[in-house]
Symmetry: C2
Subunit: 350 residues, 2 copies
């Protein structure tokens, strides 16, 4: 297996720079992907800067991967060379525990193998992500990319897409439901598109009036400015489901008040510090506060198929890999509409 060109953070404090990784020789169940595009998730930045701790360096980020199959192992049946395929946040799991068997590989009892900043299931071999020219992944963790989706704009579906699709499905988003989305960024803009495609009446709740036109263009039926406390009063008890994509500290009790009895507020953005929650906010209307982490493999394929059917992709800004450090700076400022995607054709030495 030739050595693979990549970009890596060599240490937590260093900007990303060219790097070379060794990919394994493909086994009988492996798929080799020539990476075409890789989305830039906010978690790439957190991990490359070791803001969550436990970073493994050098680190090649990237878990929103779209590529073309260049080779398959002898026992691979679902993929052929030349086809488009995708890889998300996981590249393996034990495939045997009750969580894996029920399609929740992200909660594998032995711990999933993260696509980067993790290890293979041998718990030794480090994993390197999609800021590279090639990846070798077990067939079970490779996704089919539906026809008709622009591959570059489909890349963010692999994390931002499934992160918002999974809770919408789990909490039974259906035609006529009133769904509110908090925050219009990489996750929020996918939540709006997906909830609207599921038939919900979607309201964008944002602290910035400047987001209104975009929110409506993306499919939101209504827009409410959250900076104005009056919105929380006016909309009290209105929503069946709220998807909160905000990672800055904010008031969850105010949000809970927006839910109808037995409604759910699901967090997919994580403020760094614990947030005070009033038991009364939950008890007085049987409300629920939930969290949601990506999705299982089958569910990710279901999401891609749903997006294929409804022609849903991410809104992206395509960048060459050489602009990744600049893109990170812009990401910190929220200056992206709504996802950077790296064009790996720009990577030298591929």
């Amino acid at each position: 297996m030739p050595r693979t060109a990549a970009y890596a953070a060599h240490t937590a404090k260093a900007p990303l720079q060219p790097f070379t990784v060794e990919r394994r020789e493909p086994g009988s169940r492996d798929v080799v992907l020539d990476i075409l595009f890789c989305g830039v998730c906010h978690s790439d930045l957190h991990q490359a800067r070791d803001e969550w701790g436990n970073g493994i360096f050098p680190m090649v980020p990237g878990h929103e991967i779209v590529g073309r199959v260049s080779a398959v192992g002898s026992e691979v049946r679902r993929f052929k060379p030349g086809e488009l395929a995708a890889v998300g946040c996981m590249v393996d799991s034990c495939r045997d525990c009750s969580q894996c068997r029920s399609g929740r590989e992200q909660f594998c009892e032995r711990g999933m193998a993260l696509t980067y900043n993790g290890t293979e299931m041998d718990r030794k071999t480090p994993t390197y992500g999609g800021y590279s020219s090639r990846i070798v992944v077990r067939e079970e963790f490779v996704l089919r990319l539906p026809e008709g989706l622009e591959p570059s704009a489909a890349a963010p579906l692999l994390c931002a897409g499934i992160t918002t699709y999974s809770p919408l499905r789990r909490f039974n988003c259906k035609p006529g439901d009133r769904v509110g989305v908090l925050g219009l960024g990489g996750l929020g803009h996918m939540a709006v598109k997906l909830a609207a495609a599921m038939g919900a009446e979607v309201t964008m709740l944002s602290s910035s009036r400047a987001k209104e036109a975009d929110a409506r263009r993306l499919g939101a039926h209504a827009f409410e400015l959250t900076r104005d406390g009056a919105a929380f009063k006016k909309l009290g008890g209105r929503f069946d489901l709220l998807v909160d994509t905000i990672s800055a500290p904010h008031d969850l009790n105010q949000e809970l008040g927006l839910l109808r009895p037995e409604g759910t507020l699901v967090l997919v953005g994580a403020p760094p510090e614990p947030t005070p929650v009033s038991a009364f906010s939950l008890i007085l209307a049987n409300r629920r506060l939930a969290g949601s982490l990506i999705g299982g493999v089958a569910e990710t394929q279901e999401m891609l198929d749903f997006c294929g059917k409804h022609r849903i992709v991410s809104e992206i800004e395509l960048i060459p890999i050489q602009k990744i450090n600049e893109a990170y700076e812009r990401l910190v400022k929220g200056d992206v509409r709504y996802r950077f995607v790296i064009d790996l054709a720009s990577l030298e030495g591929r």
Copy 2:
């Protein structure tokens, strides 16, 4: 309609004393109950002392009412004089909104009529509870008491029973599930009995070793001391469902860590102050934090029928009404196993 003997808090600071209330003449859909027993809920004390604010005085507490039907209106079909019957936390609702129509009268869009410290649906006539000799309630809000349950010990089912039964059902407690109950008091002891009767493997989580023998006698299969932080480590990811009955401040993130992926922690006790909740506690295993408020009328009847079938009642200490102020003092200290019930035969002037 003769005037009705009762005990009331005349003001927020006053001990309860004899009082006389006017009950309405029964209408065509009303049931008149001669009250036999009334449970003493912790919320009686909070409201009689106006600790939640908005108390309506004089206040006759009591919403765990068991009595004998003494008269029925001309259109009442489900009850006959001489039968045992019961009344819980509500005596009416609009019976017409989407919540009422879906059997969640406690979330009536116009506001339920609380059994006491509230008003009838005219929003003027104050309601007086079960610390009295007689009550007049619309047929729809009167429950049948199953054969074979000791009426005095069945009284607490009307609040403590439904408060714990409803979330166990809603979160699908079933044979083999691992259910943890936090706190062994009026609510906790009912949660243990009900979850065990539903076939769950029940663990009592308590800060007091002294509760172990009782917990096991009530049906718990295991006991864990929460004062010992090690229990939280040992039991991490173990439970399908946790029912938290603790109203003192405590650490919810520690509890969330006890849940398996997609498990639920449901609050039925309400600490007075908001509690810090970490988004990561919820997100990293798709966990849910929920609240639950009593239950609807049909669900309350279902709970009573379930208790009749499984011979479940509360553990009680029967007191004469003259001991109510002393009982409140003991309640503050947690000195009751596990519910005071007033024997209304003790009430003079009935």
